[in-house]
């Protein structure tokens, strides 16, 4: 609980005409806050990759959803925690640009209302939307009211951006969607409204506005254990310790923690809250229009968009079984500058680790597969301008060369003009939607032939069998022995009967 009731502060009881005015009021007391925020990855969208030094973060990486932020700036930047972001000439050092409400609004309404203030066609983002609800959603945030109810971030404050990453509710992550804001115990044992009722910052503990638990700096294996003094490091171990299973349950469970991430058993499936997550995003078919030249939207029987002219083909899943990989916490990203094999399956990121690596454990991952454009001549991945108001935005023109050219120019890269498409895969380590213990995986989920670990390399465990030829050989010999003794017995009976 906070020790301050912000609604009684004189400085907040005024008519705010802009976010910047409100920020100045915040900073009049919290005079270090802006400096701290400006050092954060939420502000910079960029950070060095722990062990390799590769600059990562939204500004630098590519994926197979909206590909990259280059030249899509104003639209992607709706989620940037600034008051008035501009593509060119934005002053990252201006303290009054820090939008305190982006995270400290506790009503859960601000982020969405703020996004929708940019006046563009609804269809620029929404493949499919309900016009009747538009008026309700697109409402100018009332800063003067919101100023009175600031506080620690709620699930909705974080979720306002993170649930909707890469184009819609639950699309990218699979373990983060708006169902977590009203989580049941079944969906997430920590965040359950009728249970522990944790919010995001209970685990992602912040200090000086620096968040813990970044996707760009995960911990494959936390060996520090429980931290009573400092609290959560956004790892399971920081609260549950290094022997997390209590006495009274199968002692074998604690023997697993050196090689199996907690998430592997305790997140049995993704997208369990009723929101599907995307499993396949095919840009190569985007841009097809009907005879009248209008956009096409095709849905499956559950109402999921499986094709749209703007986004191409899609596949979705609920209760999705994750895939499993060895992972030691290091992720390397394929960038616009890396050469790729145009005929292969391009790994947009690679999770390091193997069975021989003591720092690696088996982790669950959401895999998003897809097809995305490349520069055929240079054999590199490309970015594309999607939203652009001018004639270079793909969603206006359906012209790949023009929209890729614009994006690559904005990113300062060459583009040959020759467009191809390549299969890509992106692996996202899974951390959220922790099921209650009784819904965790059972032993035979993995310890069985065709169990969940069947594609994990360099792994033997009881139950999956080994050297199949040996099984066949011995079973054949056993069968022959059985037939042999039966035959022997039959001959005995017959020969004795003759004599008898």
């Amino acid at each position: 609980m906070s020790t301050a009731d912000h609604s009684s502060f004189e400085i907040l009881r005024q008519q705010f005409k802009s976010g910047m005015e409100l920020t100045k009021a915040c900073l009049s007391c919290h005079n270090l806050a802006a400096k701290q925020v400006r050092a954060s990855s939420h502000w910079n969208w960029e950070m060095p990759n722990g062990r390799t030094g590769q600059m990562v973060g939204k500004r630098n990486v590519l994926n197979n959803t909206m590909m990259a932020i280059s030249s899509n700036g104003p639209y992607c930047a709706r989620c940037h925690i600034s008051n008035d972001w501009k593509e060119e000439g934005f002053d990252y050092t201006a303290e009054d640009q820090v939008d305190c409400l982006a995270c400290h609004d506790t009503t859960g309404t601000y982020a969405s209302n703020k996004w929708h203030q940019l006046r563009v066609k609804c269809s620029a983002c929404h493949v499919d939307w309900d016009k009747s609800k538009a008026r309700e959603v697109v409402r100018k945030p009332n800063l003067s009211k919101l100023a009175l109810q600031v506080g620690r971030p709620t699930v909705q404050s974080c979720g306002g951006c993170h649930f909707y990453a890469d184009g819609g509710d639950g699309i990218k992550q699979g373990d983060l969607d708006s169902s977590l804001a009203t989580a049941s115990r079944h969906l997430d044992v920590h965040m359950a409204k009728d249970g522990l009722d944790y919010n995001c910052v209970t685990c992602h503990k912040t200090e000086h506005h620096q968040m813990r638990g970044s996707q760009y700096a995960p911990e494959g294996k936390d060996e520090h254990g429980m931290d009573v003094v400092e609290g959560s490091r956004a790892t399971c171990e920081s609260c549950h310790g290094l022997l997390p299973h209590p006495e009274g349950v199968n002692p074998k469970l604690n023997d697993h923690v050196d090689r199996i991430a907690c998430q592997t058993c305790h997140i049995p499936a993704l997208a369990r809250g009723g929101r599907p997550t995307k499993t396949y995003w095919d840009w190569s078919t985007a841009g097809r229009v009907d005879d009248a030249g209008k956009d096409i939207v095709e849905k499956d029987e559950q109402g999921r968009v499986i094709y749209s002219s703007k986004r191409g083909g899609a596949q979705w899943a609920e209760n999705l079984t994750p895939e499993y990989v060895w992972f030691n916490g290091q992720i390397d990203f394929t960038t616009l500058d890396d050469s790729i094999d145009p005929n292969g399956v391009v790994q947009l990121n690679s999770l390091a680790g193997s069975s021989d690596d003591p720092k690696a454990r088996i982790w669950p991952v959401k895999v998003l597969r897809g097809k995305q454009p490349i520069d055929m001549e240079k054999a590199t991945l490309v970015s594309a301008s999607l939203f652009g108001k001018k004639d270079d935005g793909f969603w206006k023109t359906f012209d790949w060369p023009a929209s890729i050219g614009a994006a690559m120019q904005a990113a300062g890269r060459e583009f040959s003009g020759k467009v191809g498409f390549v299969e890509t895969e992106m692996r996202i380590p899974v951390n959220h939607m922790i099921a209650p213990a009784e819904e965790a995986l059972a032993c035979e989920s993995c310890h069985s032939r065709n169990g969940r670990m069947k594609d994990v390399e360099g792994l033997y465990m009881p139950g999956i069998g080994s050297v199949p030829i040996l099984d066949k050989l011995f079973l054949t010999v056993a069968l022959l022995a059985l037939m042999g003794v039966l035959l022997h017995g039959v001959i005995r009976v017959i020969s004795n009967r003759k004599k008898g």
Binding site: N250, K252, D255, A442, C443, E444, H447, S448, R449, Y460, M461, P462, G463, I464, G465, S466, V467, L470, D471, F474, L475, V477, A478, A481, L482, V485, L486, H488, G489, I491, R492, S495, N496, K499
Partner: protein, 206 residues
């Protein structure tokens, strides 16, 4: 009245039947652990397999003690004497109601083929299954003994191979029970201890 000999002593019979039950339990549960079929569920079946294994360890402690204190271990000393006669008997003689080439008595309760078979069990199957099983049980303490380079897969393959050999042994063993002078003579002997000796057809050499 046919002659009767006490072929199996009370402890021997207790050992045999409890070991038989344990081995069958171990085979059924072990092959489920190996992933051949699904019967009890992995967590349960591993528990059952471990309990049966430790019970068998306990039983063997008693059995080894018994064999050495009674001198019965000598029954397992191998001999090649008349092995050929045994093979000939099972291959030909048995169908012609020929006399058994070997006469059991309390001092020689195993025929020469049995001695060889049990020697194989003791020298090959036993060590394979016991040593690999022991490593399996203590898998999580391997690093403490400097055994980090050992692969669980090797141990599992050895253990499963031992189990298959026991299965094959069991099939032949169960059949050979019926080859006494009546089909149930050996079985009766293993239950009551007493075996009737076929006097009129007893082997002249015996």
């Amino acid at each position: 009245m046919p002659e009767k000999i006490l072929r199996f002593k009370r402890f021997e019979r207790f050992w045999h039947w409890s070991q038989a039950a344990l081995i069958i339990i171990l085979l059924i549960t072990g092959f489920e652990v190996h992933g051949i079929y699904s019967l009890f569920g992995f967590e349960q079946v591993v528990g059952y397999h471990k309990i049966a294994a430790w019970t068998l360890v306990g039983l063997w402690v008693f059995a080894i003690f018994w064999h050495f204190t009674t001198g019965e271990w000598e029954q397992y000393i191998p001999t090649l004497d008349r092995v050929d006669a045994m093979i000939k008997y099972y291959a030909v003689g048995i169908f012609k109601n020929a006399p058994h080439p070997f006469r059991h008595d309390p001092l020689r309760k195993h025929n020469p083929l049995q001695r060889l078979a049990y020697l194989f069990v003791l020298l090959v199957i036993g060590p394979t299954i016991w040593i690999s099983g022991w490593f399996y049980l203590f898998y999580n303490t391997w690093p403490e003994y400097g055994l980090s380079t050992l692969k669980l897969e090797w141990i599992a393959v050895a253990h499963a191979s031992g189990a298959y050999m026991i299965l094959i042994f069991l099939i032949v063993h169960v059949y050979l029970i019926t080859t006494g002078h009546t089909p149930t003579a050996h079985l009766k002997a293993m239950i009551t201890g007493w075996e009737e000796i076929e006097e009129e057809k007893a082997h002249p050499e015996a």
